[in-house]
């Protein structure tokens, strides 16, 4: 490798926009950028475990190709030559795709997910596949079959989950940008814990084709990066109609970078009173309130809003998501791909042992919950009731957006917690997503942006919630905040 640590350190601290400018102006090559990231991964990955697979060979090979294509004038996309990583639930042709599970420990995907194709087309360089909670079920990345991920701000702490590998990778600059997925908070909460920027778009904004399903009516792909601007550039490449996903929206896609610099004059902020009630850590509350105050000082108006059914969101979510998951995960049966138990005695034995050995505790717990909720005699009382309440929760938001442009509040009730702290208390773990789950159930776009640090030096993220398909507004608000603050550009000292 031809570069000194200082040069590669400089390259890996650049924004996507700066990388693009440097590459297109010939200041440095895609190969140099790729090597700089691969070097950092080699050096820091053992401490973080943000990747399940590092695709070093193919990254170097595509760097050569992309350099040539850029020089030949064939590629001018803002993401051309930009390294990225994918949460390990995005199918990637010829690459191991595990969804964080042992049951897919040998699954080499025969095809690309829609978002994989989009980033390949844009000329991105895939660095690897990020660690994650098994099948995206978890809020701490501790349910991964490939070991827990450590928070770059303090290795004794969790990075959040389920997109914890991606969030940690961005925080430690082991990738400038990653794609996460969010079902009940899996982009926003780890973004908050790792001090980075992440956006979960409106349900249906980004195709789910090729994304290994957890809960189909909630799963949504979104970018995680250092800044809102980097997220906007990425969202431009992945959002939009894909006919292979019937739930994908036909709503036109704007250029998300076009409105980043719009002034926030007259912005109406809604603050849900339920999000500042009991359960919210005081330190986090203070930091969030200060951030909202900063918007107010810029001329925004702040209004308390009521989301009267939000306290029902967690129980509703823990019916609907496991119900869908119990069915979605039935295909992992040892018949066609993935793990199969040794020496099956008969069909039933094969199913039972393959699944008992292949799935982890949390996944099994949710399959059990979901199966129960859908069972004859319980379906009406659980699943149907949950769907009814889901509509009420959605209506609360619809109502609120009559009067406000954006809703602001905490992403999670606390900053990152210690590894192992909540592992044996599933309910405490589920309550981590108290503020993100209502947004997921409503299908609304939500973001997390870094707005401060706790006394002990852990980042705190603020959640921004927009109206349907109002991602451009969220990114605009976040970008404007990031023009005035530097929380998002700070890096953990030991990875500087």
């Amino acid at each position: 490798m031809s570069h000194t640590d200082s040069t590669s350190g400089a390259l890996t601290s650049l924004s996507i926009k700066a990388l693009h400018q440097g590459i297109t102006s010939g200041q440095f090559s895609v190969m140099e950028v790729t090597q700089a990231y691969l070097e950092r991964i080699e050096r820091f990955e053992p401490e973080i475990n943000a990747y399940i697979t590092v695709t070093k060979e193919s990254a170097l090979a595509s760097a050569v190709t992309i350099d040539n294509r850029i020089r030949a004038g064939e590629l001018s996309n803002p993401l051309a030559g930009i390294p990225y990583a994918l949460k390990d639930l995005y199918c990637t042709e010829g690459v191991l795709t595990t969804s964080g599970s042992k049951i897919l420990h040998n699954f080499i995907s025969p095809y690309d997910a829609h978002v994989t194709t989009q980033l390949k087309k844009a000329g991105g360089v895939l660095l690897g596949k990020n660690n994650m909670d098994e099948f995206a079920m978890g809020s701490s990345n501790e349910s991964s079959a490939y070991g827990c991920v450590r928070n770059p701000w303090n290795p004794e702490y969790v990075p959040g989950g389920s997109s914890g590998g991606g969030a940690a990778a961005v925080a430690a600059r082991l990738a400038p940008m990653v794609l996460g997925s969010d079902t009940g908070g899996s982009i926003r909460q780890p973004a908050s814990f790792c001090g980075i920027t992440g956006i979960k778009p409106t349900y249906g904004r980004v195709s789910r084709y090729g994304m290994i399903a957890f809960a189909s009516s909630l799963d949504q792909c979104g970018p995680m990066a250092v800044s809102a601007e980097d997220c906007a550039l990425t969202l431009n490449a992945i959002a939009g109609l894909d006919e292979r996903d019937s739930t994908c929206s036909t709503e036109p896609v704007p250029d998300y970078t076009a409105t980043l610099n719009q002034p926030l004059t007259g912005l109406r902020i809604g603050v849900p009173k339920q999000f500042f009630a009991e359960g919210l850590n005081n330190e986090v509350a203070t930091i969030i309130q200060a951030a909202i105050k900063a918007f107010e000082l810029q001329g925004a108006t702040v209004k308390e809003i009521d989301l009267p059914n939000s306290h029902l969101a967690v129980p509703v979510y823990y019916i609907i998501a496991p119900a869908e998951a119990s069915s979605n995960l039935s295909r992992f049966d040892g018949v066609r791909y993935g793990a199969r138990c040794d020496n099956p005695q008969d069909l039933t034995d094969m199913y039972k042992r393959t699944r008992a050995e292949g799935f982890g505790e949390e996944v099994k717990r949710r399959i059990m919950i979901g199966t129960y909720a859908l069972s004859a005699g319980y379906y009406d009382a659980y699943y149907i009731k949950a769907q009814q309440v889901r509509r009420l929760i959605k209506n609360d938001f619809v109502q609120a957006f009559n009067d406000v442009d954006v809703i602001m509040g905490p992403c999670a009730p606390t900053a990152a917690f210690k590894l192992g702290e909540k592992v044996n208390d599933p309910v405490a773990m589920y309550l981590e997503d108290l503020y993100t789950i209502p947004v997921s159930l409503a299908g609304l776009p939500g973001m997390s942006i870094p707005v401060g640090f706790t006394q002990s030096g852990l980042p705190v993220g603020m959640q921004l919630v927009g109206n349907y398909f109002d991602e451009a507004r969220l990114l605009n608000i976040a970008h404007q905040y990031q023009q005035l603050t530097d929380w998002h550009t700070r890096m953990p000292a030991q990875f500087a």
Partner: protein, 478 residues
């Protein structure tokens, strides 16, 4: 009091779409295993179903033909169970909100009366794959070519009271789906198969214990399976062993002519149906329905009524001719070409039908075109050949020996209608048989047949029978 049989049917009609209901793979039958299985059919992680709109249109077609309510908001649901040939671990079907609601189908009974059978519903669903056991030791193969093939499951009310009615109902439905062009009706290939629910009771009492006989794929099997099952029920009940009769699923073994237990109610899965979150509800507008209605062909009952009024056919003849759309169209082409609907009906329902039966061919496989049959009927009408000779000509045409005229020419079958030629033959016969002539003239009319036979023989069957009769009578009268 007599036992009464109560039957309800579930028919699975495979929809004749080119591609599968949720994937782009071909639905063609008989390909090498797993060559028509896409990533979705294999249930690869991350794959998603995309609805084939043609299947929806076909569902609406059937609904309209059954006079049924069309579900304007129909929903796909997942039916969850584990089986190796069910790759996703669930089947995408419809549960609470099917595409077709309540409707009816009229069937004609043997005594000519019409009976109305209620249709409960019809819903869209995907087929499963197949397990393959031949050629494997201690293992099974899985062929997913059939996985995600579109099916319409048509459920009847328990309105059917005998095996004969059941067969009439299935035949009528079979005819209907083919008329509509939504199913090829091929029962051997499993494109049209049915499950029969059977019970017996005494009229006025509640229905008896119901047994489901699965996957019957021929009209004969349906009839035999029901007969066997009804007898089994009655025997058990009358022997005081009614408690041995359990609600279960049974299979019919055509070799033994018996049904045997497949699984009992206790083994029944809880399918945990719920709306499939990967698919949006199907929303159907009145305009959509009108568009499909405008595209509906004339249906068998309407066609039958028209054949009776327009062509003066009997209900029996018309009923036979409307069994398939092809046959009805063929009839009209021949009736128009020949200008004689009755003659056409007689030939089609007589000689042609008999030959098809003997050869075990479906009407669509008839080797003689409508045009060719017109050619044959014309030669009967213009007395070129007799009806009897026409049968021989038909045989030659069937064997591919050409059209009617060339067969008549090649075989020299042209009737002799020239009076002088016939007179010459008759004169010779009268001269050679003075004894018989004397008998006839003394009043023995029966001898007339002898002269006809001799004359026909001498003309090698080519003499026009009517002309021959006339001349013979004159000459014998002296």
């Amino acid at each position: 009091m007599e036992w009464e049989t109560v039957i309800g049917l579930e028919i699975h009609a495979q929809l004749a779409t080119n591609s599968k209901i949720f994937s782009g793979s071909s639905t063609a039958y008989g390909a090498e295993p797993n060559t028509q299985a896409s990533l979705l059919d294999l249930a690869m992680p991350g794959t998603l179903p995309v609805l084939n709109k043609k299947a929806v249109e076909f569902g609406i077609k059937l609904g309209l033909a059954l006079g049924a309510e069309i579900g304007k908001h129909s929903v796909f649901a997942r039916k969850n169970y584990f089986y190796p040939d069910l790759p996703k671990g669930y089947q995408i079907s419809q549960y609470e909100f099917p595409i077709v609601g309540k409707g009816q189908l009229d069937i004609e009974l043997e005594d000519g009366t019409v009976k109305r059978i209620g249709i409960t519903r019809a819903h869209l669903e995907e087929d499963a794959g197949k397990s393959v056991h031949e050629g494997f030791v201690n293992q099974s193969g899985i062929d997913l070519n059939r996985a995600s093939t579109p099916l319409l499951e048509i459920v009847s009310e328990p309105d059917i009271r005998s095996a004969k009615e059941a067969v009439a109902y299935v035949k009528k439905m079979h005819s209907l789906v083919r008329y509509l062009g939504i199913c090829d009706g091929n029962m051997q290939e499993g494109s049209f198969r049915c499950d029969v629910n059977v019970s017996v009771h005494k009229p006025g009492t509640p229905f008896g214990t119901r047994v489901e006989i699965k996957n019957l794929n021929s009209f004969r099997f349906i009839e035999r399976a029901i007969h066997h099952e009804v007898a089994r029920h009655i025997d058990l009940i009358e022997a005081g062993k009614g408690h041995l009769l359990v609600q279960e699923t049974r299979l019919f073994d055509p070799d033994k002519g018996e049904t045997r237990s497949m699984r009992s109610k206790e083994d029944v899965n809880d399918y945990r149906y719920f709306p499939d979150p990967d698919l949006l509800p199907i929303l159907i507008t009145d305009a959509d329905i009108d568009a499909v209605r405008a595209d509906l062909p004339e249906l068998p009952d309407a066609k039958k009524a028209r054949f009776m009024s327009e062509y003066g056919l009997s209900a029996y003849d018309a009923g036979l001719l409307v069994q398939s759309r092809e046959e009805g169209e063929y009839f009209e082409a021949v009736a128009k070409g020949s200008g004689d609907a009755k003659l056409t009906a007689n030939w089609m329902n007589g000689e042609v039908a008999a030959r098809l039966n003997r050869a075990e061919l479906a009407f669509e496989q008839l080797p003689i075109s409508a045009e060719a049959l017109v050619g044959l009927l014309k030669r009967i009408q213009d007395n070129t050949i007799s009806g009897k000779m026409a049968k021989d000509v038909l045989e030659a045409m069937w064997q591919g020996e050409g059209d009617a005229d060339s067969v008549i020419e090649a075989k020299g079958l042209k009737q002799i209608t020239d009076n002088s030629a016939i007179e010459a033959i008759i004169d010779e016969i009268i001269a050679a048989n003075p004894e018989q002539v004397a008998q006839y003239r003394s009043g023995k009319d029966k001898v007339f047949g002898f002269f006809v036979g001799q004359a026909m023989k001498a003309s090698k069957g080519k003499a026009n029978p009517a002309t021959l009769n006339d001349i013979l009578k004159q000459k014998l009268a002296g």
